[in-house]
Symmetry: C2
Subunit: 150 residues, 2 copies
């Protein structure tokens, strides 16, 4: 192997080790960012759940706002699962970085369901919201089952 | 003061003590929620700042996405500054709860500027983005000066 090739591989490895470097100064920043976006998303998703499950009265306007917020947040966390961000205060499972295609597939499914959720919430029809809420919820669960540690 | 009046006042006081009870189970939940939403918003606002200040190349599409995220998050934190959420791990200044009209005015100004920021980012004109970024930034600062502890 010649020197140029060795150098190129070394630089590539360094870049791959933390490709989110352009977006996050430190791995901890990426972890904090994705946890914060999941946390805010979860708050609004649970508010929808409270309506869907009859714990609070159905309010079409509040449902639409909550669903919009869920949709806006759903696309955010994924770039923050960069290589080199699997250590520290995180429940991210190491499989995220060994089964990247599966992780991307499950996260894309969730994002797609939140688009339907937002549309369903805007209809003002609680039954439609229930269907979309449960479909979205199952995409959360199927990803957590594999890619989140207990 | 008759008994009914006393009872009404007592119930009102209990409700006012933590009016976000319907939305957050515990004061810590409200604090975590508002900190998370500020943190995610800040990440995207700083990315715009990097473009505005020439630290990263201007990318019109990324700017529009970041500004949309800032706008979506800007309206979230305020209901979480409920009475009874000023203690604990928070930099919220006690003045938030003694100068509520001023706090609401400053937060409304910030939200309004993020709407303009999002519109400016969509023009694809870096100069317009710079103007809107600085106007938004000054609304952050003017609120932090009064209502955030060091």
């Amino acid at each position: 192997m010649n020197l140029i090739k060795t150098l190129i591989l070394a630089v590539s490895a360094a870049v791959l080790a933390f490709p989110a470097a352009a977006q996050f100064a430190k791995p901890e920043d990426a972890i904090k960012y994705r946890q914060s976006s999941f946390s805010v998303m979860q708050t609004h998703f649970f508010r929808l759940g409270n309506m869907v499950n009859g714990r609070v009265p159905y309010d079409a306007r509040a449902a639409a706002e909550n669903a919009d917020t869920v949709q806006a947040l759903a696309r955010l966390p994924w770039p923050a699962f960069a290589a080199g961000t699997g250590q520290g205060e995180t429940r991210a499972h190491p499989a995220i970085w060994t089964q990247q295609a599966k992780f991307a597939d499950l996260s894309n499914k969730m994002v797609a369901e939140t688009v339907k959720l937002s549309a369903a919430a805007k209809t003002g029809d609680l039954d439609k919201l229930k269907v979309a809420f449960r479909a979205t919820s199952s995409t959360c669960q199927s990803c957590h089952d594999v890619f989140r540690t207990r």
